[in-house]
Amino acid sequence: MSLPTITIELFGMPRARAEVRELVVSAATVGEALAEVVAKCPTLADVVNADGRLASQYLLSLDGKHFVSDVSQPLQPGDRLLLLSSDAGG
């Protein structure tokens, strides 16, 4: 069975590091999507900690609706994940 296609939108530091606005990956969970991001963009290697969790200097939002911290969260085809710098405020 093929994995869902997920679009990762990049903002702030992730965009500056990756030098692209978005990435398309195939992943069934948030953790798999992050692993794909790192595989495609080695400059984003610090996005995930050694334990696979999102590093504290980043935030992840599912379609702009909720922020997600649980990397086991399943993803649906067409989901968009927003990868942001944390400390979004001034």
Binding site: F11, G12, A55, S56, H66, S86, D87, A88, G89, G90
Partner: protein, 596 residues
Amino acid sequence: MGGYHGRYLRIDLNSGTASYVTLSESVLRRFLGGVGLGTWLLHHESPPCVDPLAREAALVFCFSPLVGTPLTTSAKFAVVAKSPLTFRLNDALSSSHFALAGKRSGADALVIVGACTAPSVLVIEDGAIRIESASELWGLDSDETTKQLGERFGQEFHSAVIGPAGEHLVRYATISHANRHAGRGGLGAVMGSKRLKAVLVAGTQRVPVADPARVVAASRDLSQRSFGPATAKYRELGTVSNLLTFNRLHALPTRNFQQGQFEQAENLSGESLNATRRVARESCASCTIGCEHIYSSSEGNVRLEYESLFALGPLCGIGDRDVVLRAARLCDRLGLDTISVGATVAFAMECSERGLLEADGLRFGDGEALLALLPRISRREDSLSDLLAEGTRRAAARIGGDAPDFAPHVKGLELPGYEPRTLQTMALGFAVGSRGADHNRSGAYELDFSAKTDRFHGSPEAAALAVDTEDRAALIDSMILCKFLRGVFTDFFAESADLLRIVTGWDITAEELRTTARRIVTAKKLYNVREGWSNSEDTLPRRFLSEGLSTGVATEATLTVERLQTMIDAYYSARGWNADGQVSESQIGELQLTDL
């Protein structure tokens, strides 16, 4: 006791005299410095219910125990006064050599009362003061004033100055030092009301720290951590990178908070500014982060932050990046708070479009009109600019009709660049803030940008978390360290206690500092209560509580009066205050606030 002189310098401009006043160890330990000590001083030095622009009103410059140490980002000072915009306590922070030289002048704070009879500069050198004429400086902008003062007094003096906006008592005028500003709440107008064009400081009086070797080691460690990932955003992109993120999340206030997204956001984004306009990166004195990104404009180079970008851009419907950069540069020179002036012009644009205000056809998106208005406002040149120099609350009251419903302020202070309907924990932070709608004294937005809360549905459960962000801000603003350093701490209260212990020699603990932070927040509240606060002020403009906001990701975001009230009730409860938001006598005793 290391880190302190143990006294403040009280300057009476009426008589042209100054004297030291002892600060007891008890006061310093309970209020630390910065906004904490400034609040205590304001309680004691500003008469109850004083007009903020009256000669009796006090203007406090407050340093901190960390100023003068090698700890990164510690060269900061607070300016505290009763705000002419809100008539409530106002505290604003600024940085750099004024803090270092001010503390070396021999005091932990400067308290200025009275007023000069003619435009003057106040010169403070090692505790001795003199007042000199500023007649040739009056009318000059902040840059030119600073330049001329440098030529007149020499490099060892550092100055805090006002521009034309302060002179003309614009209610959101700033105090400038080295192109940085004590920006919010109209402190420049308080200085202008005292006919003070500038305060200059110099001195040779250094204070020892309790454990110099450990302070040096802690400074090295903190500097090292400041180069890490927690501050990368500030170093590499600056806060302007917030714009596209906020836009994507429908949290970017646009056209006076009528929308949460701006169709020209890409053009104004930090990313495009950094690619096309960035010319330098600078830092405050004693800072290893260096978050100040400098951009070129046809008006000269300008430091730009997200708050100026949002207020002079999307909030006014303006997408031309040169216009925004020029407007920010003008505000710096004229001494105008970019948030308040942007919000006031945006509000006027909406009033004009609705036919409520005769304003030469002012419309959203009219960049040239914005650029023309800024100098006029700073000098109150005509009836329109005079009205706008009063800020949105007073302007709305005069315009009448339903204008007060969409005047974007809390307690008179214009909202910063966070849309309350899509960031509903921040909405609570705005509503209850002691200085009004404020993103620096409450970090509640951090909860909206997390999995801990639902940003579209504010909940009472978030109130305790919002309290915690206020307490952290109170502590960091009183020690003082830069908030951009906050991400490097793993246990903020414990590490802060470590720093204060080696500087002061006090056996201070994380638990004591938690109480200190609560004490400082409560002391600000008690000042406001003394000046007439009631819980009817802890709210948001009607627009946010009656109009939904299109979000694209769900049905429209709405924030009802009832939901906000539930959060406010939970906030009062989490603070230990009464149901009407008043502080009980027993809590005043517990927090050792009986001397206020």
